[in-house]
Point group: C2
Chain length 219, copies 2
Amino acid sequence: MGKLERISMKDRLAAELRRKVLSGALPPHFRLTEQDLADEYGVSRAVVRETMLVLELQGLIVSTPYKGSEVASISRTEVSELLLPIRIHIEQYALKEGMPLFDADTFESFERVLVAMEQAIHHQDIEAFNEADMRFHAIIVDACPIDSARGIWDSIHPRIRMHFALQTGRTGALVEFLEDHRRLVEVFRTGDVLASIAAIKSHIIETNTPHLGLLDETH
Amino acid sequence: MGKLERISMKDRLAAELRRKVLSGALPPHFRLTEQDLADEYGVSRAVVRETMLVLELQGLIVSTPYKGSEVASISRTEVSELLLPIRIHIEQYALKEGMPLFDADTFESFERVLVAMEQAIHHQDIEAFNEADMRFHAIIVDACPIDSARGIWDSIHPRIRMHFALQTGRTGALVEFLEDHRRLVEVFRTGDVLASIAAIKSHIIETNTPHLGLLDETH
DNA sequence: TTATGGTAGACTGTCGACAATCGACTATTG
DNA sequence: CAATAGTCGATTGTCGACAGTCTACCATAA
């Protein structure tokens, strides 16, 4: 059953602000002041400050001492050249280490996410779809026995999503995205690690490439 | 001349604790309580809490709600399979984007670090050498026009260093490390980006490969 | 003895208030 | 008029105190 865990105000506020940033409700360069946020959400400034610190280290906001904070802006080359390759590596590694540990519960989680995607499509709720998409990949990363993988992923992933959340592009292709995730789960079920690693890479690239993919990597 | 910037207590304390963790003064699983740290360094718990949050997001400590924090432990596979590839990618990318922007000041910074390394060797000060090593690579990452590169690097790099700082191995080969950095700077001076990218990769790999790995750990 | 429930101490989570800093505006002065 | 010094409001940096939570220990009862 559910774990009924206690969630600190800091984490709740961070999740809420992250959601607003990723949904575009808080656009890049939007100014954030601690007192205003504290008043708006009914928490103390200490909580707000810790929240802002988290979001800053995750690159969603930038703050300068004694001046204030604002929602970060993000460049396309940063995403394609810096963040995406790192994200791919993390998820590939997580899959390599974690896939042998996938059990019935894991696949049940995947299925729940797929259902959530279906419902999101049915309600035309792009935000809910993105949320489900994030949970899908979080399952992969969390399955990795190296705990810190999730932490690194958390510090990479939001900026990528932020970049594409502000594009309208994905709207129409939601059904294809769903199918793509379905295929991924099927590959996972075969237990073929190498195939899964390849699949997740092309999945991430295609999912995050605005309709003509031409990014290459070094090494 | 120097910039005489104001540094918050949070940042100073973070630097100090990071130093102690990397030097082994605070070994893995060492328990950290907020009040003790606040008393020890003469700051308030709020400062300590923000500091701990930074160090936690950088993976140097782990904290569980209402229970406390302790210095993180780190496994060899996490370093070699997860962290090192990411670090290599970041520094390669930073080099690719930032090397064309290297100017006289940049190389002067490199030279200062090399001098610091010489002095560290002369004084047999391993900690100072490691500090200089970190500054060397920070110059590279900071030269990258994408600001967030440094942030990601900061969230990756300390754990790598932590892993090897706890090994004694590097002691004898300090001179070789110095020469290796010298060679790197020479490659940078040629302006050959591809050669530099290749050089930084092998440098990082060799520098972080324990001559023949015969240490293994739990987790 | 063992299991249950409760109590105490230590610690983290949260809060409101005070101090330091910044940027813009204003006044003063040559 | 231009340049400089001073002031003010807004915002962040820092602090000490209170409230909530966990763990270990102890008492009590079957």
